[in-house]
Subunit: 402 residues, 2 copies
DNA sequence: GATAATTATTTCCTTGCTCGAACAATAGCG
DNA sequence: CGCTATTGTTCGAGCAAGGAAATAATTATC
């Protein structure tokens, strides 16, 4: 029963479903233009997918009055009965959830305040599984076919293992298998910065060509690196732990245990902590400050608080150094700075640009376009859902039946 | 006359010639095993190449008595009349040359002492062209079909332009075109660290799988990064300028104009200069010290000179930091440390390992195998020759006629 | 309302790559 | 002198992909 498709066919199928999910319902000719294939080949491919019930032809009448003459386009879209996918992001004390149908359309979302760190491995997985299934039940709708989960730390995507995560307090945690066991659905896990990089690149075609290094600033600092729109995978199929590169030998404390890591200057918890220290207040108990608390710090700095301005100046400098390292190492076409940390980009920018300029070769620096993408963490779930959907693509017909 | 091969055929041809050059004469079945193709397909491919005169069948008798039964293997090899390729490396005050036949066998080599920095663009290219053609004449033998040149700096391989090189004192120098014009032969240029990485990986199959970051220490410090045996290419098809990543904000002067770059601690010129300064001698006039001078410094340190030991300790620390950044950014399977600078590896190693350990996550660090490959600069010409040969592979038949 | 124009899709055919199966060639071995 | 092991060749099938032309489905225009 398991129909094994030949490799080229399979790759073509993937590309087709990718473009259809990204660009919405498309006619066969349009798919052909996107993929650089002849309409004949597209017809051939789509025939199989229509046959399997993965795709459906759009009803003729629902596009309203047609203004061009000629035979009207028949757009193809994902079948509505393919089921849904849940995307999850686990922060330090928050879980973001999102339900998406197989075409990539958002159906429901929620976020839950819940500290995860103190839990052991089994409890952690229990809590996650329960949160996810509650969300699925509340959302109702079509059955959930797969789960994608983004989390901080060094994630082995292929084997579904969180190899290292200071936030989850985990080492070699077989998270995908554990959740799969509890939920009875396939689970894909991914580093959160990689997921965000992927999601952002889905929205901007320019970022899908060439090499894109995506620095996410938020609870921590992470890097997602894309080559021709695909996530770069290292030796253990994870992303990098760029946030824990040590840039100042005797810098502030990082939650990884080291000192002077990039994120020890830029992450929300670091900025919040150092802001408290400036005011001679005790270091805060909550490691992850609220959005309001962060906004307050930024506002105070914008009002002219010199000590805080200094803090952001130094953070910007570290960001510039980090971007400089990426430029001199990876020779990227695009540098994207994203995540909640971009809320203070106006404060970071002067020192960021100065640092970047002082340590990169102009010939290399000028190749890389700097993009600042203001993005909250909920886009993350979008990214990891995309990943899960792509993983499913080859099994859609089978999953439909299940 | 220009026979355009379809893309898959072309790729298959490349792979076949690659493996034949690397593994020496091979029978069709053996090629099939290396490439994972059926003998039938290999026969089909080689038929064309034999027809064009690119390959020849080995004479039957010259393997001596056959000890296995069955139809004897007929090994295929590159035709001997395909001509040669010259590989060149330009150092600060030295030019290395090497003549190689199309099968990759070394035929002659030479090195010339010649400072290149003070020359202008035109003079530089004149000198190089003259040196190359003199070498070709002296070496005699089959006609030279192409030239591969490795040089320091940021090299755009696709367009053949040296975008930036403090050693050559060049900016946007169209070196490949200039030499092509003077020599009438196709010229391929490459960053020297990339060329060395490629050459080293040709010798060790392990380095051709997964991701290999190759740090070359010598006149300067460079990085060659390989993914599945192929050189990583950035936005402008060059490698990186990793040697000019600034690791210490107020470190020693670098020849790029900045301060605290990786190579300002590790390159021969930097170690030599700082050794002179320790002895309160004036900074040396010659920027690139001789091999003897470097050996003397190393010997003096090994004898217990504390100031020099300190110098190497600090250099090792920077090397560890550099490797740490690579590990946390690229998640490589292999880190190779190579080049003349490995002569002092015993002095660098303790602080190298301490620094590496103190700033990398164990889960990531343990993935990467550290290789120290003692290699002088002449292996470089090998690497760039390989590149040039590969560039030629599609035109071999045409070049044979020319 | 008939006809022309236009666009989408399908059908059919060709090309090119790869592989499996059958077959030829060759040499050791009993 | 068969038998067997191994290599290499030939031929045909299968498959992907593209192009030409036929077909289908509309709308604009007269």
């Amino acid at each position: 029963m398991a129909i094994t498709l030949p490799a080229p066919r399979e790759a073509a199928r993937r590309r087709l479903l990718d473009v259809l999910r990204r660009e919405g319902p498309l006619a066969r000719v349009e798919i052909g233009q996107h993929l650089g294939m002849s309409p004949a080949s597209v017809s051939d491919l789509t025939a199989g997918l229509l046959d399997e019930g993965v795709l459906v032809s759009e009803e003729a009448g629902d596009t309203g009055p047609v203004l061009i003459r000629g035979r009207p386009k028949v757009r193809l879209s994902f079948a509505s009965d393919l089921g849904c996918v849940i995307g999850v992001w686990t922060g330090f004390n928050r879980i973001e959830l999102r339900l998406v149908d197989s075409a990539g359309r958002n159906q429901a979302s929620r976020h839950v305040e819940r500290p995860l760190r103190s839990l052991g491995a089994e409890d952690l997985m229990d809590v996650l599984a329960e949160t996810i299934s509650t969300f699925a039940q509340d959302a109702g709708g079509p059955p959930v076919k797969a789960i994608g989960l983004a989390c901080q730390g060094y994630v082995d995507t292929r084997d579904g293992v969180v190899a290292w995560s200071p936030v989850l307090g985990a080492r070699d945690l077989p998270l995908a298998a554990g959740l799969n066991q509890r939920l009875g659905r396939p689970v894909v896990i991914e580093n959160d910065a990689s997921a965000m990089a992927f999601a952002i690149a889905q929205r901007d075609p320019a970022l899908r060509s060439g090499r894109t290094a995506c620095l996410m600033i938020g609870d921590g600092v992470g890097l997602g690196f894309l080559v021709q729109g695909e996530l770069y995978r290292g030796a253990r199929s994870g992303g990098s732990e760029f946030g824990h590169v040590r840039l100042r030998r005797s810098g502030p404390q990082c939650r990884c245990g080291g000192r002077g890591c990039i994120e020890a200057f830029l992450a929300d918890y670091a900025l919040h902590r150092d802001a408290q220290l400036i005011d001679h207040r005790p270091a805060p108990a909550v490691l992850i400050p609220s959005e309001d608390a962060m906004n307050a710090i930024v506002a105070q700095a914008r009002a002219g608080d010199t000590a805080l301005l200094n803090l952001f100046r130094e953070a910007g400098e570290v960001l510039g150094d980090a971007a400089g390292i990426l430029i001199q190492t990876l020779e990227p076409d695009h540098i994207v700075i994203c995540g909640p940390g971009t809320r203070a980009m106006d404060l970071l920018r002067p020192s960021f640009e100065a640092a970047l300029e002082s340590q990169t070769i102009p010939e290399l620096r000028s190749l890389a376009t700097i993009h600042v993408v203001e993005s909250s963490m909920d886009i993350l779930t979008e990214g990891v859902v995309m990943q899960a959907l792509r993983e499913m693509d080859l099994d859609l017909a089978r999953l439909k039946a299940a």
